[in-house]
């Protein structure tokens, strides 16, 4: 796992080595082990490496035998062993054992189509010397990031936005339409980001930059088309067990020890149990516990640890910990967030690193691909209730939806039914599942200043998303449509980014996600929905396939989404001072994004202890994080990362 950065001048003008060095230096948290740059006519590639495979020889940037193809690579190719064998049998000669070199030879063989053969997680750049062509590629589900921008005749790219901003000619300005997307979907829709003229390569896409032109193509599609033939449950269950077991097996390929995140939920416990089947050694596992009882899952974590005999470490996270870490977290997420949930994961990766680990496997992705989220259940219940208007079970069903939400449990029946009401017409809405969530989040826009509101007049984030839907979306069932929306946008844009790559690699920890193995994703997307959610039993197929490896308490526990303490963290203890500064009316007015009086009312509500709603929490975290983005990336952005470290060597070949 590493960071990449680079500059390509289509005019052939020389690339500034000091600028390139500064760009990669900004990303060395992702790759603290070594760094390297390669420059040639009109091209500069840089890499900061976290050494995991072929520690002594896998230096980067790397070239093929005759120096006609160069690569800088961030990620892992898990099927590199099989691909390497195949390439050797076709006459390719390897100088390292690394997965990076496999991509080079595969590119020689297949050109741009080579990415279809890779099973892994990556963000990479390939420079084809003969064709003077630059390719950027990103993995199918968006585990690893790639950002890029155009300045004149140059294309500038990197694993994180901060590397781009280090380039003196790249301008830093907030993109209000990107902000509007975050205040609707919790994430931006790639290629848009929250910064003007800074783009994110969408997952499963390749960018080609040649003769000054940028072209972007998908090499893979997220599809929910299903075969007409339906098999017996047992056939699907067996296939899932085989695929997931293999996905774990190849994700244990590493020359450094591999640990596991163990949250106490079904998914990470399944992954941990499967790792145990391959490893003879006692597995190290890591988790977050919360001082706040509402969020804490330590009892389940301990149950899993006892059952699976792992050597476990947990961090305990309180309000102060979240508040203290939050500005650093936003430096890494590089976008506003609506929840504090990335903060505990940022603290967790620090602990993993301190324990001497660089690689962990996680249960991320299961809820997206196997139908685990409450939003799928909510949509199913709303559909049922709309069709069965007089069902006596209405209120009872709705209360089963969110057993962990006290306010909802107390909600009177008449309100509950109004709250989740859907009309027959709503059933035809292509966003039936997600519209309530997006509308709730959009209410936070009441805090936008009048200027921002008028700039955004005529812009509608939901229409923008509608315009991006593939035609086949409209032929899928509602359950698949909901899964598509989660997997296509929230997964790469928030879960794998703000809660994933960014906060893990902030401390140079690489997370690997077996559930996001593309073979498994394609398999799961082609399944009939009722084997994913059987009535209201989520991830039914997973429980059937691998439940026997788990303690009964975890198999049978009610699902609890991962959440952490939100707004309250900033109104007592260490968070109070800087929250007061960042949210001060004069600061809010000067930045001009939010209405200072409305923000003051919200702050007053928190100070008085009267902010108890999810909307208040989301508003506060959204506003606070936006202000931190403005401070850290626009008004007070500081260049000047350093590569000076006696342990870091420049392995530049040129």
């Amino acid at each position: 796992m590493c960071a990449i950065a680079g500059i390509c001048n289509s005019s052939g003008a020389p690339v500034s080595v000091p600028v390139l060095k500064e760009m990669i230096a900004m990303l060395r948290h992702r790759g603290p082990d070594e760094w390297g740059i390669h420059t040639d006519v009109g091209i500069g590639l840089a890499n900061a490496r976290l050494s995991i495979i072929d520690l002594n020889r896998g230096h980067q940037p790397l070239c093929n035998e005759d120096g006609s193809v160069w690569i800088t690579f961030n990620g892992e190719i898990f099927n590199y062993v099989e691909l390497r064998k195949e390439l050797i049998s076709r006459g390719h000669i390897f100088s390292t054992r690394s997965d990076t070199e496999v991509i080079l030879h595969l590119y020689e063989e297949k050109g741009e189509n080579c990415f279809r053969d890779l099973n892994g997680q990556w963000g990479l750049a390939i420079w084809d010397v003969r064709e003077r062509k630059l390719l950027l590629s990103r993995d199918r589900m968006g585990v690893r990031p790639v950002f890029y921008t155009r300045v004149g005749e140059s294309l500038i790219f990197g694993s994180e936005v901060k590397a781009l901003f280090t380039h003196p000619e790249v301008e830093r300005e907030l993109d209000l339409a990107g902000l509007d997307q975050i205040f609707t979907f919790w994430c931006t829709l790639s290629p848009r980001t929250v910064f003007k003229n800074i783009f994110e390569l969408p997952p499963g896409h390749t960018l080609v930059f040649v003769r000054g032109n940028v072209e972007i193509h998908p090499y893979w599609h997220l599809s929910f088309n299903r075969p007409t033939e339906i098999l017996a449950d047992d056939a699907y269950i067996e296939q899932l067990a085989e695929l997931l077991t293999d996905a774990v097996r190849i994700r244990l390929r590493s020359d450094v020890p591999v640990g596991a995140y163990l949250s106490g939920g079904l998914d990470s416990t399944v992954i941990t149990a499967l790792i145990n089947q391959f490893s003879g050694k006692k597995l190290r596992s890591f988790s977050v516990a919360f001082t706040s009882e509402d969020h804490d899952e330590r009892a389940y974590q301990q149950e899993a640890v006892r059952f699976l005999h792992t050597a476990h470490e947990q961090i305990e996270c309180g309000y102060d910990d979240i508040a203290a870490a939050f500005p650093d977290v936003i430096w890494h997420t590089e976008k506003p967030v609506i929840r504090t949930a990335p903060a505990p994961l940022y603290l967790l990766s620090q602990q993993v690193r301190d324990a001497g680990y660089k690689v962990v496997l996680t249960g991320e992705g299961a809820d997206e691909i196997l139908g685990g989220y409450d939003i799928y259940k909510e949509a199913k219940i709303r559909r049922f209730l709309t069709a069965q208007k007089n069902s006596p079970r209405r209120a009872q069903l709705l209360r089963r939806l969110y057993p962990y939400q006290a306010s909802l449990q107390k909600m009177p029946n008449a309100y509950l039914q109004r709250f989740f009401r859907a009309t027959a017409e709503d059933l035809n809405d292509p966003f039936f599942s997600h519209r309530p969530r997006w509308e709730l989040t959009s209410r936070l826009k009441i805090f936008f200043s009048d200027d921002v509101k008028s700039e955004l007049a005529g812009h509608d984030a939901i229409s923008e998303l509608f315009g991006q839907l593939p035609i086949e979306y409209f032929s899928w069932d509602g359950f698949s449509q909901a899964q598509y929306l989660e997997s296509k946008h929230l997964l790469p844009g928030y879960i794998l980014s703000s809660q994933g790559d960014r906060v893990a690699l902030a401390h140079a920890v690489e997370a690997r996600h077996p559930f996001l193995d593309y073979r498994l994703v394609a398999f799961a997307n082609a399944l009939p929905p009722n084997i994913k959610m059987r009535v209201l039993n989520e991830k039914y197929i997973l429980k059937r396939a691998l439940g026997h490896l788990l303690p009964a308490t975890i198999l049978q526990r009610p699902k609890q989404p991962y959440r952490s303490p939100d707004g309250r963290s900033f109104f007592a203890g260490v968070g109070e001072d800087y929250a007061n500064q960042v949210l001060a009316p004069e600061r809010i007015a000067a930045d001009g994004i939010f209405d200072p009086r409305a923000v003051s009312k919200l702050v007053e509500k928190f100070r008085a202890g009267e902010a108890i709603g999810v909307k208040d929490d989301m508003a506060l975290i959204g506003i606070l994080s936006t202000q931190l983005v403005l401070d850290q990336f626009i008004s007070q952005f500081q260049r000047g990362g350093s590569l000076c470290n006696e342990h870091m060597q420049n392995y530049a070949v040129s």
Partner: protein, 97 residues
Amino acid sequence: MQRTHAELRRFITNNFLYGRDCGFRDDESFLEMGIIDSTGLLELINFLEKRYRIKVEDADLIPENLDSIDQLCRFVERKVENHSPATIAPVLQGQAM
């Protein structure tokens, strides 16, 4: 009545619209406007019980009672009338608005 009306409007505007009165009508539904969610309802009940010293019963918790400024006004008035004037009057008079 007029004072209650103004108070309720101020509470809704400050608490749910953060002071940004969008010019909503007194008969406009809070649910339709999207300003009352599950916790919002609890905040509203809490305010009514404290401010007017009334007890909002489970049976009262229907949108027909609580879903607009006009409905809230009528509901509070009805509840207050059902209490003895001796209990209610000092409360209302004793609180500066």
